[in-house]
C-alpha cells in the first residue's frame, strides 16, 4: 500500500532522512519507532504531500506524492504531532469543517468514527482549546477519519499522554484496522512496538531494522540477563566496573546486562556482586525487549 525507495531529505546541514526504504502492506498496522529528531515527521510530511524529498521515490496506493498530491490528500487521513485543529471552534464545528472540506457529512461516515466520537460527543459544544489532552487526541483522530481514508498516518499520537489513555488509543487503532484501514503510526515509546504488526526502528534519519516485533526481539544477538539487588545504585556501579560486562542498563525493576564477547558466566557475576556486599542478588536469562534491541542496534551503528 505504501512503497518507499531511497528517500532522502536534507535541511541545510542536517540530513533529516538518509536513503530510507520501506514497504507497508495493505491493512497493516505499521509502527515507526524512534526518538525525537530521528526523522519520523520528515518522512510523514513527504508521504502526506506536505514536503518534497530531495531524492528517492514514494507511492501510496500506486500514487506519487508530488504528481498525484490532490488524489493522495483525499485518500489519506493525517494526524500531525502538534494539535492542529481550530482551537476556537467547538468539537462539533471542527468535525463539520473537516467533513465539509472533504465534501462529505458527519452522518455519512458516522459509523467509522462512532466508537471514538461517542466518547467526546457529550462535550460537542465545548471549544477545542478547552479540551483535555486525551479528548483533543480523540477529536483529532475523528477529524482525520471523517472522509473515510484508505490510509491513516499518525505522527506520535500518544506522546505526552498518560499510560491509560495510550492503551485506549491503541485499542481504537486496532478496531480501525479491523475496518480495513492501513495504519502507519510513529511513536517514541518502545513498549508500543509490540502492538504493531511490523515496525521500523529509526534513529538519526536511518532505519535500523524492519520486522515483526517478535522477530526483532528473538533476533537479539547476545545473551541477556536481568539482575536485581536491594541497592540499585550500588548494583549498577558494581556491574559497570566488572571487566566482562558490555552493557548495563536499568530496566524497570531490573538491570539488563550483556557480556563482552558473550562470555559471561552468570555465577561468576553473582559471586562478584555478593563479594561487593550486594544483598538479595537475583538473576535470570531473559528474552530481549524492543528497547534492548533498539539500544543494541544504536550501539552497533555508532561503532560502525
Amino acid at each position: 500500500m505504501i512503497d518507499i525507495q531511497n528517500l532522502s531529505k536534507r535541511y541545510g546541514e542536517v540530513q533529516a532522512i538518509k536513503s530510507i526504504s520501506l514497504e507497508v502492506k495493505a491493512n497493516e498496522l505499521f509502527g515507526l519507532i524512534g526518538p525525537d529528531g530521528a526523522g519520523k515527521t520528515t518522512l510523514f510530511r513527504i508521504l502526506t504531500t506536505l514536503l518534497i524529498a530531495d531524492s528517492g521515490t514514494a507511492s501510496l496506493d500506486g500514487m506519487d506524492p508530488v504528481l498525484d498530491y490532490k488524489k493522495i490528500r483525499e485518500m489519506i487521513g493525517y494526524m500531525p504531532g502538534r494539535f492542529s485543529l481550530y482551537q476556537d471552534l467547538s468539537v462539533e464545528e471542527n468535525l463539520n469543517f473537516f467533513a465539509t472540506v472533504f465534501d462529505t457529512t458527519i452522518e455519512e461516515n458516522y459509523d467509522l468514527i462512532a466508537d471514538i466520537y461517542k466518547q467526546i460527543e457529550p462535550f460537542k459544544k465545548r471549544i477545542a482549546g478547552k479540551l483535555s489532552g486525551g479528548m483533543k487526541q480523540k477529536l483529532a483522530l475523528s477529524c482525520a477519519l471523517i472522509h473515510k481514508p484508505k490510509i491513516l498516518i499518525l505522527d506520535e499520537p500518544t506522546t505526552g499522554v498518560d499510560a491509560v489513555s495510550r492503551m485506549e488509543f491503541w485499542q481504537m487503532l486496532k478496531r480501525l484496522q479491523q475496518k480495513g484501514i492501513t495504519i502507519l503510526v510513529s511513536t517514541p515509546y518502545m513498549d508500543e512496538a509490540s502492538l504493531c504488526d511490523r515496525v521500523a526502528l529509526i534513529q538519526n534519519g536511518e532505519i535500523l531494522t524492519v520486522d515483526t516485533p517478535q522477530n526483532i526481539t528473538h533476533g537479539f544477538p547476545k545473551k541477556l540477563w536481568a539482575i536485581n539487588a536491594a541497592n540499585k545504585y550500588q548494583l549498577i556501579n558494581d556491574l559497570r566496573s566488572h571487566p566482562k560486562t558490555a552493557t548495563v542498563y536499568p530496566f524497570g525493576e531490573f538491570v539488563h546486562v550483556t557480556a563482552k564477547n558473550n562470555e559471561l558466566e552468570i555465577n561468576e557475576i553473582i559471586s562478584y556482586l555478593e563479594s561487593k556486599g550486594n544483598q538479595g542478588v537475583f538473576s535470570e536469562e531473559i528474552v530481549a525487549t524492543i528497547e534492548d534491541c533498539f539500544m543494541e542496534l544504536m550501539n552497533t551503528s555508532i561503532n560502525n
Binding site: A163, P188, Y249
Partner: protein, 250 residues
C-alpha cells in the same frame, strides 16, 4: 539518611473556583529519596508541584519544604530547591557556559564560585569541548542533561523534575537516570514526574494521583504486590482506571 523529612505535606487543598485540583493530600518525602509523582493527565500533579516550589499558594493545608514554611518562607524555599520543567528553561541564543553563569547569578553565587562550579559541571557532563556551543545547536539529550545540571547549579537540597526525559532515545534516557541516581546517592531529594512506567520502578517510592487525590503511595515492590501486578504499568492502570479492560479485543 532516609529518615530525615525534607518535604512535609498535611491536608493540602487547592481549589480553582469550584474545581478541586488537590483534594486533601498528605505525604512526607525523605532526604536522599527518589520520589515518583505519577498520575493521569489532569490529575493534579503540576498543581501540587507548583505549590511545593513556592510558585502558587495552597487554599489550605500545612506544608514545609526543606524545613521552611510554604506560606511565609517561599524565598528561602526557592534558594534550597532546583526545578527542571519539561520545556526546560535554557536560553537558546546563549551558549552552555553563559546559561550556567546566568543561573549562578540568579541564585546569587559569587563570580569565583560560579567559575569553579561551571568547570566542575562541564567536566562531569563531558561537555568541555562544547562550552561555547549555543543551546539551539545541541541535541535534545544534551539539553536535558544540561537543564538538570543548571537546576542543580546552586547545590539545592531538593530538585523537582517535571517529565524530564520525554522524547529522547533509550540510551540517553538511561544516562539521565544515572544523573538522578547519583544526585540521590549524594543526599539530594529528587521529586520526579514521568509518563514512562519503567521509570516509576527506579523510584524509591511512588505516588499515584487520581482526580486530585493520592490513591496509592508506596515502594514499587509493595504496590505491585498489593495490586497483584507484574509491572508498574499494570499498577498504574489498576489505580488510575479501575474499570479499564486490559485485554486487547482483537
Amino acid at each position: 539518611m532516609k529518615d530525615e523529612i525534607e518535604i512535609r505535606v498535611r491536608n493540602l487543598v487547592k481549589k480553582f473556583g469550584n474545581f478541586v485540583a488537590n483534594d486533601n493530600l498528605n505525604f512526607d518525602v525523605y532526604k536522599g529519596e527518589i520520589f515518583g509523582f505519577l498520575g493521569a493527565n489532569g490529575a493534579g500533579k503540576t498543581t501540587a508541584m507548583r505549590i511545593l516550589c513556592g510558585l502558587s499558594h495552597p487554599t489550605s493545608g500545612e506544608l514545609t519544604v526543606a524545613g521552611y514554611d510554604i506560606y511565609k518562607q517561599t524565598e528561602l524555599i526557592k534558594k534550597n530547591i532546583g526545578y527542571m520543567s519539561q520545556k526546560f528553561s535554557l536560553y537558546d541564543d546563549l551558549n552552555i557556559v553563559e546559561n550556567m553563569e546566568l543561573y549562578g547569578g540568579i541564585y546569587g553565587l559569587s563570580r569565583k564560585h560560579i567559575k569553579l562550579r561551571v568547570e566542575e559541571l562541564l567536566y562531569k557532563l563531558n561537555m568541555e569541548a562544547s562550552r561555547n556551543t549555543l543551546i539551539a545547536d545541541l541535541p535534545l539529550g544534551w539539553k536535558q542533561k544540561l537543564a538538570f545540571s543548571v537546576a542543580m547549579f546552586h547545590k539545592p537540597r531538593i530538585v523537582f523534575l517535571d517529565e524530564p526525559t520525554g522524547g529522547v532515545d533509550p540510551i540517553t534516557r538511561r544516562q539521565f537516570w544515572d544523573l538522578i541516581y547519583e544526585a540521590a546517592h549524594d543526599g539530594i531529594t529528587v521529586f520526579v514526574t514521568t509518563h514512562y512506567m519503567d521509570e516509576a520502578e527506579y523510584c524509591d517510592r511512588v505516588t499515584i494521583m487520581v482526580d486530585g487525590r493520592i490513591d496509592a503511595l508506596d515502594t514499587p515492590g509493595r504496590l505491585k504486590e498489593k495490586y497483584q501486578a507484574t509491572t508498574m504499568n499494570e499498577v498504574f492502570i489498576k489505580v488510575a482506571r479501575p474499570d479499564f479492560q486490559l485485554t486487547m479485543d482483537n
